[in-house]
């Protein structure tokens, strides 16, 4: 019959090992979750026809330039922007010549790292008044951001 002291030590050891395993796994989960989300977002954008290019890496953070212009027309800007938001660190972004709704607008406003944004303005894409409001808001959040727009014929819009 093992002594009570020995039983206590064994139990504490099991608890300690289990706790260390739990902490290590939770830390790993946090890192892997973010990486998995980024990988799935990048892959889904490419599969949808987007152009995703790595610009560089700073302090372990990867920055991308993303062009949604060539994406399948079956996908909306809002759906594509959900993936862009999951990537997070985007320096340059060009939207598809499609409408932009509330969900997509919210994603755009949440992206804090964009330095260059291009979108299409017109009847079948972003309405001019919506573009004006969005540009104002985005410049307010990030004064250094360059917001450009063109119509569906490629002519620049002020």
């Amino acid at each position: 019959m093992p002594s009570r002291r020995r039983v206590l030590v064994v139990r504490l050891l099991i608890a300690l090992i289990g706790t260390l395993a739990m902490v290590a796994t939770l830390i790993e989960l946090k890192g892997q979750w973010a990486l998995a989300r980024e990988q799935r977002a990048v892959a889904n954008l490419v599969k949808a026809g987007a152009s995703v290019q790595l610009l560089g890496e700073e302090n372990g953070v990867r920055y991308y330039t993303i062009g949604l212009d060539g994406c399948d027309r079956s996908k909306s800007n809002d759906e594509l922007l959900q993936y862009v938001c999951n990537i997070g660190n985007v320096r340059a972004l060009s939207l598809a010549p499609l409408p932009l709704r509330e969900a997509g607008t919210k994603c755009l406003l949440d992206l804090g790292t964009v330095e260059l944004l291009h979108l299409y303005v017109g009847d079948r894409s972003v309405p001019p008044e919506m573009y004006a409001g969005l540009k104002r808001e985005m410049k307010r959040l990030n004064p250094n951001m360059d917001v450009q727009a063109s119509d569906l014929d490629g002519k620049a819009v002020e």
């Binding site: 139990r11 099991i14 608890a15 090992i17 289990g18 706790t19 395993a21 739990m22 290590a24 796994t25 939770l26 790993e28 989960l29 892997q32 979750w33 998995a36 980024e38 990988q39 799935r40 990048v42 892959a43 889904n44 490419v46 599969k47 949808a48 026809g49 152009s51 995703v52 290019q53 790595l54 990867r62 060539g70």
Partner: protein
Amino acid sequence: MAHRFWLTICFLPSAVAAVAAGLIVWNMPTRDERAIATLIMAAAEVRLLDSPDGSRYFSIDLQRCSNNDEPLTYVPHVPNVGSLYLKPAPLEDAGTASLLRVRGLRYLDVTRAIASNEQFARLGDALKHTNPGLIIRDDIRESVPLNFDKK
């Protein structure tokens, strides 16, 4: 009461670790998603293009990568790779083995700098055997018009 307390203390952390490990596995992207994303994170250019027959294929360009061998390990896991552009850098055994696992390749752009003439000849023959209809372009043979990749 004391017994239940010790059971909880001993095994609850392990149970949480097991659940967390399960979540990691469950949340993992699929193999092709991982391959595409890893290639892009290695500075490769991966695009989905339309071929003349209406099907879609991936075009992979390794020019901006640091080497050929490491990114090439992911290329066989990307479905429907139609065209592949290697970096004008040495191609080691690992990269050659990965290249030989690719199926369905229709266009390979490579320069003679990556391998010796004999190595290149063997590689070209092996690739054409596993990828029927493959066009290989290098800087010595007459260049093939680059209108294969169309968006």
